[in-house]
């Protein structure tokens, strides 16, 4: 019998929890931390300053922590941090951050990334998000908790996908997607860009809102998106009515998107670190040793 146990290239400096597994023909770099119970598949490459939490499943052929595809990247020791219990399909790629964009790419907990997904530099994917097959996130994107992005969608730099929203299949997303909405295109022509075309019912169910809040949220969604003209006036009307909870957050989100360049509120972070990175980056005082224990 051939001894297959040697057919992995794991750098001795990498810190891998005793019960984590690494498949055949995988390559693990020196600055990698892999938490307990994480199963890394075959032919996986994990390089750079990449930290994986516990209970993740990484499919065959994934490449995590490679250099960003950004011409500004100067080769610095930026990071990719992946939380717990995420499931990655095959050939998923995620890159480390860039120095000017906050130096951190972050994937939270309980996310599902299907085959061929790409999470680019300085992206923040929160928790419980679903990314369909070959979904491409460009740089500096924020995908908020519970968002669902269907197959083959491509997202522009600096876009924010709101909480529990749905992006339809094959949609070029160039502006922010408001929370709890169904955002899609029916025609891939540049003359009819994708837009909000309804309420994401499954998202509202998943958010488990109190009944009063849900009622108010539905009212706000109907007011705002039945006809998207004069959005700013309608937001002001809703705020003046004194909406609370999720509806108020929806109004705030839409207002920030409207004020942002090209309908993208994160455009203001072009060339500087966003608040998420300042909170989560290693310079903010998270010691890598401590972080390993925390896992």
């Amino acid at each position: 019998m051939t001894d297959l146990s040697v057919l992995r290239e794991i750098d001795p400096a990498a810190r891998i929890a005793p019960d984590a597994t690494v498949g055949l023909y995988s390559v693990i770099g020196p600055d990698v931390i892999i938490g307990p119970g994480t199963a890394v598949g075959r032919r996986v490459t994990i390089v750079g300053h990449t930290h994986l939490g516990s209970g993740n499943v990484i499919g065959e052929g994934c490449v995590l922590g490679a250099a960003p595809q950004d011409l500004k990247y100067a080769g610095g020791p930026t990071m990719l941090r992946i939380g717990h219990r995420n499931r990655f399909g095959r050939e998923v790629t995620a890159h480390i951050g860039t120095e000017s964009g906050g130096a951190l790419t972050r994937i939270g907990d309980d996310n599902v990334l299907m085959d061929g997904c790409h999470v680019a530099h300085d992206c923040f994917v929160d928790d419980r998000a679903y990314l369909g097959r070959s979904v491409l996130l460009a740089g500096h994107i924020r995908v908020q908790t519970g968002a669902r992005i269907e197959d083959l969608s491509g997202l522009h730099h600096f876009v924010t996908v709101g909480r529990f929203s749905l992006v339809g299949p094959h949609t070029p997303v160039r502006r922010d997607v408001p929370p709890f909405t169904d955002f899609r295109s029916f025609d891939h022509d540049w003359e009819s860009p994708p837009s909000v075309c309804g309420v994401h019912e499954a998202g509202i169910a998943a958010a488990r809102l109190p009944r009063e809040q849900e009622k108010e949220l539905r009212f706000a969604l109907k007011e705002l998106f039945d006809d998207e003209s004069a959005l700013q006036t309608k937001i002001e009307q809703l705020v003046n009515m004194g909406v609370e909870g999720e509806a108020a957050r929806l109004c705030e989100f839409c207002l920030r998107s409207l004020q942002g360049l090209y309908g993208r509120c994160r455009e203001v972070y072009r060339g500087k670190a966003p608040p998420e990175a300042r909170r989560l980056s290693p310079e903010a005082g998270i010691d890598t040793k401590e972080h390993y224990d925390e896992l």
Partner: protein
């Protein structure tokens, strides 16, 4: 001596320059040549008669020089120039008839595919999941956005931008913003021209020509405007290049029609 991982398989007849690094689990075929300063990451497959110019970077899981599906053994030629970056999961097919030729300083992002016999210029940027068809021609400084595709045998002119999800089926003009499927000329790619150091006057002349030639909606070229501008002996050299490309495209289209019949 090249730095080759103990877990890599490099055929003894492959030509590998001195300061090349090759990561674990790579396969380098017998007729491959790798120029100085190349960095080949892990799990990369180099097949056929592939030649990598100096300072080429190849990232994990990429395949260069593969035979197109159904074409049997990998024996085609695939020539890459200097300082190209081939990112993760990229496939570059070797040409079945002529070689696949790639210039210098191109960036092929994740999962992009270059078809057999494609001719690619210099300084191109090909975003994730772009697809270049067989024997397609891409000129210099072209930028393609995510999921954009160029059909077999089609051509994209220099300095053009192909927007996300666009599909180029025929010959697309130079200097243009191309969008949609079927592809439409949306305007002049001013931003790229400025970045590439075009003068204010040249951009102005091109903008005027674009306004006359295209109606801003379709890919249709106004024939009378094309003839008028092409006849103008004192035209700007860049405008001249544009009209030459448009006339060549029209000729190719009519010749193609004849063959189909």
């Amino acid at each position: 001596m090249p730095e080759i991982s103990a877990h890599a398989i490099v055929e003894p007849t492959a030509e590998v320059a001195d300061d090349v690094t090759i990561g674990p689990f790579c396969y380098v075929g017998p007729r491959v040549s790798i120029g100085p300063g190349c960095r080949i990451a892990n799990n990369v497959t180099l097949l056929g008669r592939t030649s990598l110019g100096q300072r080429t970077e190849v990232f994990p899981m990429s395949v260069i020089g593969a035979a197109p599906p159904g074409a049997g053994e990998a024996d085609g030629q695939c020539l890459l120039g200097e300082a190209n970056a081939v990112r993760e999961h990229v496939t570059i097919y070797a040409g079945a008839e002529g070689p696949t030729r790639i210039g210098n300083h191109n960036l092929f992002m994740i999962a992009s595919q270059i078809g057999p016999g494609a001719q690619i210029g210099d300084h191109g940027i090909f975003d994730n999941c772009t697809k270049i068809g067989a024997a397609a021609a891409i000129e210099d400084y072209v930028r393609m956005s995510g999921f954009a595709a160029v059909d077999d045998g089609a051509r994209v002119g220099a300095y053009s931008f192909v927007a996300a999800y666009a599909g180029v089926q025929n010959d697309a003009p130079p200097y243009a913003m191309l969008q949609g499927f079927p592809v439409r000329v949306r305007g002049l790619n001013t931003r790229n021209l400025k970045a590439c150091g075009f003068g204010e006057q040249d951009i102005h002349a091109l903008k005027a020509a674009f306004r006359e030639l295209f109606n801003g909606r379709g890919a249709e070229v106004k024939r009378d405007a094309l003839d008028r501008i092409a006849r103008d002996a004192g035209a700007n050299p860049y405008v001249r290049r544009l009209t030459d490309a448009l006339r060549a495209a029209a000729e190719r289209a009519t010749a193609g029609d004849g063959q189909d019949d």
